[in-house]
Amino acid sequence: MLHDLQKSFADVALTNSVEALLPHVATPRGAIERRLGVYHANTLNSLIDVLSAAYPVIQRIVGDRFFQALAKDFIKTHPPQQPTLFRYGDALPDFISSFAPANDLPYLPDVARLEWTRVEAYFAADSAALNPERLAEVPAEQIADIKFSVSPTLRLLESDVPIFTLWHVNQPDQDRVPEIDFSHPESGFVLRPAHTVMQRVVPMETLIWLRALTSGETLGTATELALTHENTFDLQNTLRQHLVDGTFTELYL
């Protein structure tokens, strides 16, 4: 009984359909729709605000009106499934792929994926960076066997389009948007070392190296894979950068 009542109120909030709720309300019909409409409008707008907060770059790329329409369509077909709003919107990148008015902007879903990745990194668990001196303690003949555990905030990304550049030129402090070569692929990672989410573009061989280490391969194997892709892969500098960034949290032998 209570469940039905709540369900019919949820219908009002999400879709503005008052039919199921009518028998439960004593007010005359015209007033009901107007009053209940407030719940619908507020629900819709708060969900749009959530999406807007998670996808500011998409909003800037397509403009406010387009974003609102996109968000409304998304909310209609993907109402929240859990009571935590910070997780709401993970399905938007895929939704954009199927959103006909966005067909002309094929780079949009991948840019949205980057934005969501940043949200994930922001809310992922904290972790302490590996102390570089731990590496210095490993005997030379065992270096190849080292395995790392990586930060829970690390996310690797690979795209056919320049997602990191697109993200960067659409930050609020960028007032001049340059022409972009949309055919330039970019790979990189997102990481939250302390409290600020950061991202870096890396060459493909570094992505391969990171991907191997993340999936539990040894340093020797990961380095071999990276060198096979690009024989100028610079282990020393790459490793240094990731020790500084805090990509790794622990090492095992």
């Binding site: 503005n16 605000d49 329409a69 008015p101 282990l235």
Partner: protein, 101 residues
């Protein structure tokens, strides 16, 4: 591709180099210890209740009429300045068109 297998010596040298250079950049192992997580202060939208700001009042009412837009839905943000879109025929685009029917 066996010549891509790094030797023990080259691996050890690279790792040693990386460690000593990282030691110069990372202030100390306590690099993060000086920073306290500042609860309650988060960039708008990056905390779970940021949206609460938009939920009071009936401010939302005004956008209801917006729902069934007769206007043509055209992206009008910075995408125009950035030079529009990819050449037609890219995978994502075709897929999107097919899904959209």
């Amino acid at each position: 591709m066996s010549h891509n297998k790094p030797s023990t010596l080259s691996l050890a040298a690279a790792v040693a180099g990386a460690v000593s250079m990282a030691a110069m950049t990372v202030p100390s192992t306590a690099s993060a210890a000086g920073k306290e997580k500042c609860y309650g202060v988060a960039k708008a939208g990056e905390n779970g209740c940021a949206n609460a700001a938009g939920t009071h009042s009936c401010a939302g009412q005004s956008t209801v009429a917006f729902d069934k837009g007769e206007w043509k839905l055209v992206a009008e943000g910075t995408c125009v300045e950035m030079g529009g879109n990819l050449e037609p025929g890219e995978g994502v685009n075709e897929e999107a068109k097919m899904k959209a029917g």
